[in-house]
Amino acid sequence: MKRVVADSRQTAISVRNLCNRFGDNLVHENLDLDVYPGEILGVVGGSGTGKSVLLRSIIGLVKPASGEIRLFGEEILTLGARDAALEKRIGVLFQNGALFSSLTVIENIALPLIEHGGLSRRDAEYLASVKLALAGLPAHAGNLFPAELSGGMVKRAALARALALDPAILFLDEPTAGLDPIGAAAFDQLLLTLRDAFGLTVFLVTHDLDTLYTSCDRVAVLSRKKVLVVGSLEVVAATEDDWIQDYFHGPRGRAAASASAQATSKG
């Protein structure tokens, strides 16, 4: 069940003429990208093409050299003080989870609920336990510290924290990296379930071809300092470009494509 996009001109994220540079190294040059409400956009690209920098620019952690970035039509770069209301509408899952190591999992999830939601500790921890269950973690995991969790549990706990304030846009930085294939597949499924339930817009940076095939509505390829092509997986995979051809039609790409085709024919 996909959310119907009411107005195709309405964008959740809109990036225009984005330029990012570190010293003399130009990472992005006049990069344009649109993400529509309710879709899962997968962002792929070779190492060092600036996927994470793009993500960090959109969530406001990196200040770009020039360009404009709009979230729900609001320009975020010209907002003088960071707009707290805007921050509540985005949830971020960092690559290594970035759970606060001195707090238990429940306290990690309850923190934004207490700080922004104005809930009492008891209410916040109850809601946090609901989010924990939504992210597919058992209840006893809530009392553990992040150092005591396995890699897959860390990702799920971090997802639960990202979902704490019911964000409209979810940013995921390599969510399935370091997970075993079963855990990664379960995570993809969880993502689809949550997107369908909450109408989330998901900005997904990934290297995982299986994730692209199972969960992404559209795929954007970053290369040569801009978005080379963006569209459905078939369109992107058919693009004439050496890197894209290697990526989607290399041995791993073919395996993921055939696995996805099998799953579709069975289902």
């Binding site: 069940m1 939601g117 104005g118 209410d123 939504l134 006893h140 009392n143 949550l194 339930a197």
Partner: protein, 390 residues
Amino acid sequence: METSGKLDKTVTATAANNCSALVFAETDNGICLCVKGDWILAHYSSLQQSLATALPQSPEPDQLDFVGMGELDTAGAALLTRVIGAESLLALTASARGLSSEYAALLKTVATAMTKQQQASPQQSSWLDAIARLGELSHSGWRNFLLLAGFMGLALTTLFAVIIRPGRWRITALVTQVHQTGLNAVAIVALLTFLVGAVVAFLGATVLANFGASIYTVNLVAYSFLREFGVLLTAILLAGRTASAFTAQIGSMKVNEEIDALRTLGLNPMEILVVPRILALLITLPLLSFIAMISGIVGGAVVGMFSLDISLARYMSIVQEIPVRHFYVGMAKAPIFAFMIALIGCLEGFKVRGSAQSVGEHTTSSVVQSIFIVIVLDAVAALFCMEMGW
């Protein structure tokens, strides 16, 4: 319906903002639960409070009506699930009126998640916990002592095994450590002991002047710095400066699994990390102690010259009369302190588990422990030397 007989009036729970509400209404088809207004995080607290007071025991509804509902998010869905019960909510959403497919999916997801999950029971605390904690504390204190003793043995055997084989000396690591722990600390050690030397001289002058014995200020400063203060101040300073650095360095390597990587490469972390650090402190602490003694005596001399009218020549001649064994007593303690400081710093580093917070905890612990050990050993040494007449 039989259940409808139990409910003789409409029960309403309303949030403080008066726009979100839960209305139980009696209809021909049993109890109908009408959800009205926005069920979102912002109204969560007030909704929950009014639900608790208005509906101590919520009746089991037979129908759900969402016609009057505005927005819904997970917080609201969780609250609804708690009021209605996950199973009955799941059963009733299919036939609910006025529920959009998105919100139905949301309710279903939340309710399904909540059926699987039971609340983790909060830990009960009792007065017995205090006794248990005391037991744990003493037990862990004893274990720590055993660990330190074991680590000392391991460090010593590795040290001797390395020393007799010059091919395994790690000169570069040793020089780096000597540079960091010794050379970089010269200025602070010299400044600190100079000031303490001046303070001791002032103190001595004030007290001894009453007896007309101001000249003995020189003896006071020289004796105290040769025997005690030179080495003790240096050791305390290095316990704060170097033991913490050792713990943080080794601890963050542990967090990064670098120690495990060393082991899998067939390298001994004791030999690579611990031995150069111990040797470096064994070299630098006596040298720094010597600088501290000189600097303290110079501090005393400056005070003597400028405010007690003791000339430098007179000051030096008195210092030269002091038997050299006092200097030896002071210097003999330096390697012992150095060994203990390095040992505790490294051991605490190896005790780090998992997180960045653990690095912080063990760094604190290593500073506290090494200062404690230094002062205890110094007290023992003072007693011993006094009894021996040294």
